[in-house]
């Protein structure tokens, strides 16, 4: 009973009229466009602020990717200290040098080019931001799915785990854990990048998990889930193929807004001295060290890394807001 173009089909209501009894290409084009992802993307494209923010993010990514190239072009290595006179990275008294044609953003307390270090710092921030967010969302998704779908004792255990996680004072426990690990590594947790990513990723599980769990509880009762069970689908298949796609939009929005939070988290840890270990270039660490210098004339040491951090975070936040509005345009409807 297939239909061909031009068929005259007797229909009893308009509702029943087969959509495809039109020229195939035209219909395909008109109908294909209705996928929710395409719609969201179109809305996003029209949001000018979000697009500008995306451009800024792109620039930062480029800067991170080409950091070695930047260093090479300028002739200033990221760890290179210019204590001599040509070029002079430090004043005769040993203080940092301000922005000039040689050092576009000045130097730090060890005579290193701040601009180059900011470029390298972007690598850390972006890498940790993305990876830790991925860890958070992945872990939260799995836990939330399990808790919501299996219910019973699995749910109770996971819910208690979430309660505990949310009660823990993040910063303090992160600092404690990292300091213990610095003295005596525990398993895969080594000071520096690994422990930072793990800590930042792990602590977000509860927030994501709860949201996912709530959604799963309502989706679980839908008839198409019953249909999947009637077909004999295994629980994990139902969770990932039937339930998870309904969560995808929300997870994307959440991830996009989580990245700047993670970036700030990493910078905070480094600021307190328990994040990325020097001499690796890191914005938080630079700001922290600048505390001894910025009040004595070396304002650039504080300002430029701060601006880098601020602009990055702002760009991600604006873009994230745009993504959220693209998926849920309800906000526009208000008078």
């Amino acid at each position: 009973m297939s239909y061909n173009v031009g068929d005259a089909v007797a229909v009893s209501t308009i509702e029943e009229a087969p959509i495809a009894v039109v020229a195939e290409g035209e219909a395909a084009k008109k109908i294909e466009g209705r996928s929710p992802w395409v719609l969201a993307w179109r809305r996003l494209r029209r949001d000018r602020a979000a697009m500008i923010a995306l451009g800024v993010i792109g620039l930062i990514v480029l800067m991170a990717l080409f950091a070695p190239a930047i260093a090479a072009v300028l002739g200033h290595g990221v760890y290179q200290q210019f204590r001599g006179t040509n070029p002079a990275g430090l004043t005769p008294l040993g203080q940092p040098v301000g922005p000039s044609s040689t050092f576009w953003m000045g130097t730090d307390d060890q005579g290193r080019d701040i601009f180059v270090r900011i470029a390298y710092g972007a690598r850390i921030s972006l890498f940790v931001g993305v990876v830790a967010t991925a860890v958070t969302v992945a872990g939260g998704l799995v836990l939330g799915l399990a808790a919501g779908y299996f219910g019973g004792i699995v749910d109770s255990l996971i819910a208690r785990f979430f309660d505990w996680l949310l009660a823990v004072p993040f910063l303090l426990l992160a600092i404690s854990l990292i300091s213990v690990v610095t003295v005596h590594p525990i398993g895969p947790l080594r000071p520096g990048l690994p422990v930072v990513i793990v800590v930042l990723g792990f602590f977000g599980w509860a927030a994501v998990g709860r949201i996912v769990r709530g959604q799963v509880l309502s989706i679980r009762e839908r008839e198409y889930i019953e249909a999947a069970r009637a077909l004999g689908a295994r629980p994990w298949r139902i969770m990932f193929i039937d339930i998870a796609p309904n969560l995808l939009a929300q997870l994307i929005v959440y991830s996009t807004l989580l990245i700047p939070v993670t970036i700030v988290g990493e910078a905070s840890l480094s600021f307190l001295g328990v994040g990325i270990l020097p001499p690796t270039a890191d914005w938080g660490e630079m700001i922290s060290t600048s505390q001894n210098y910025y009040l004595y004339g070396s304002w650039w040491y504080l300002v430029f890394p701060s601006l880098a951090l601020l602009i990055t975070t702002l760009a991600f936040n604006i873009f994230g807001d745009g993504v959220r509005d693209a998926f849920d345009p309800r906000g526009d409807l208000f008078v």
Binding site: A167, P169, L172, S176, H184, F271, T313
Partner: protein, 333 residues
């Protein structure tokens, strides 16, 4: 209702217990049996002191024995003369030779001053700007507030703090305008309220501006949500004046998520104002903890973590109860 309260209280106690186990695992078990005493005794401890610590904390005994001792159950059952956690003893600071309770007793008022002062400030700012934004949607007010909120929301606390010090304290001071005392000044409220507040202006501003941003967005969103509800439309069509509408109907329901968020945030900040305290050199419990970590003075860290978690759990409990009082639907679950 009582059933609900009991259940919530039990949950809170359970989580608190989990916290103690976690802390115990990290600090007493994590470093490995041979290092624990050394770690706890502090960096400057001599071998004799380490041995004394080891003996005093029963570190030669099996793990769960140590836990019972530490948490105070042994004392409760008369098995040990030393009071533990349950009796309110947070431990002994070997590094400074004083009890942790003493250390924290002086630090806590500082944290509370910073947090509570900032909290009032940000709640006021957030609510005011949020309400105005919601009422005058898309106006200049709305757009400015929203943009400001976004900017401050994106700013890490330490960045804002340092920039404020640079911009306000530094610039004013080098021009001989002495409004802002040097960062790190602390005057207890009891000795001079005015100077107490003066020293705290910058920390308050820092913490408040960053937090207020969240509240602006939250309030605005919540009020807009309620605006769209049918019962508002009904009241409006009945002829209620707009102002009365906002104040009596809209605000009350819109405020519920804001109030609960507020409770949670204050709870979290008791332990998490670390960054503000560090930037401004205020020796609150967060700063004390960080310094203790750098000095590897772990008993203090343990004490702070316990206190901070307790703060969060209690705040959560209060918020849940408040929510149940405000929204009867929650109780029936």
């Amino acid at each position: 209702m009582t059933r609900f309260l009991i259940r919530r209280a039990l949950q809170g106690l359970f989580v608190m217990w989990l916290m103690t186990v976690t802390v115990f695992l990290i600090f007493f078990v994590g470093p490995g049996p041979s290092s624990v005493a050394r770690v706890l005794a502090g960096r400057n401890a001599t071998a004799i002191q380490v041995a004394a610590v080891s003996h005093r904390l029963f570190l030669d005994r099996p793990v769960w024995d140590q836990y019972f001792h530490w948490i105070g159950l042994s004392h409760l059952f008369g098995l040990s003369p030393d009071p533990g956690l349950l009796q309110g003893n947070l431990g002994y600071d070997y590094y400074h030779s004083q009890s942790v309770n003493t250390v924290l007793k002086s630090a806590l008022p500082i944290t509370l001053s910073v947090v509570l002062g900032a909290a009032i400030l940000w709640l006021a700012m957030g609510l005011a700007s949020g309400i105005v934004s919601a009422v005058k949607t898309r106006s200049l007010w709305d757009r400015s507030f929203t943009t400001l909120a976004l900017t401050f929301y994106s700013m890490p606390t330490f960045v804002l703090g340092l920039l404020l010090i640079l911009g306000l304290y530094y610039e004013f001071t080098i021009h001989h305008i002495g409004i802002f005392p040097a960062p790190g000044t602390w005057v207890p409220f009891s000795s001079n309220p005015l100077k107490w507040a003066q020293a705290l202006i910058l920390p308050w501003l820092t913490l408040a501006l960053v937090s207020a941003a969240t509240y602006t967005r939250l309030t605005r969103g919540s009020m807009l949500d309620v605006f769209g509800e049918d019962y508002i439309r009904t009241a409006r069509s009945k002829g209620m004046s707009e102002r009365r509408l906002i104040l009596r109907h809209n605000l009350r329901s819109a405020l519920t998520p804001v109030v609960t968020q507020f409770g949670l945030d204050v709870g979290v900040l008791i332990g998490g104002a670390v960054i503000t305290e560090t930037v401004f050199g205020l020796p609150g419990i967060g700063f004390t903890a960080v310094r203790a970590i750098n000095q590897q003075d772990l008993p203090v860290v343990i004490g702070v973590v316990i206190v901070a978690s307790a703060g969060v759990i209690v705040a959560n409990l209060i918020v849940d109860i408040l929510y149940a009082v405000l929204d009867p639907r929650v109780r029936l679950h």
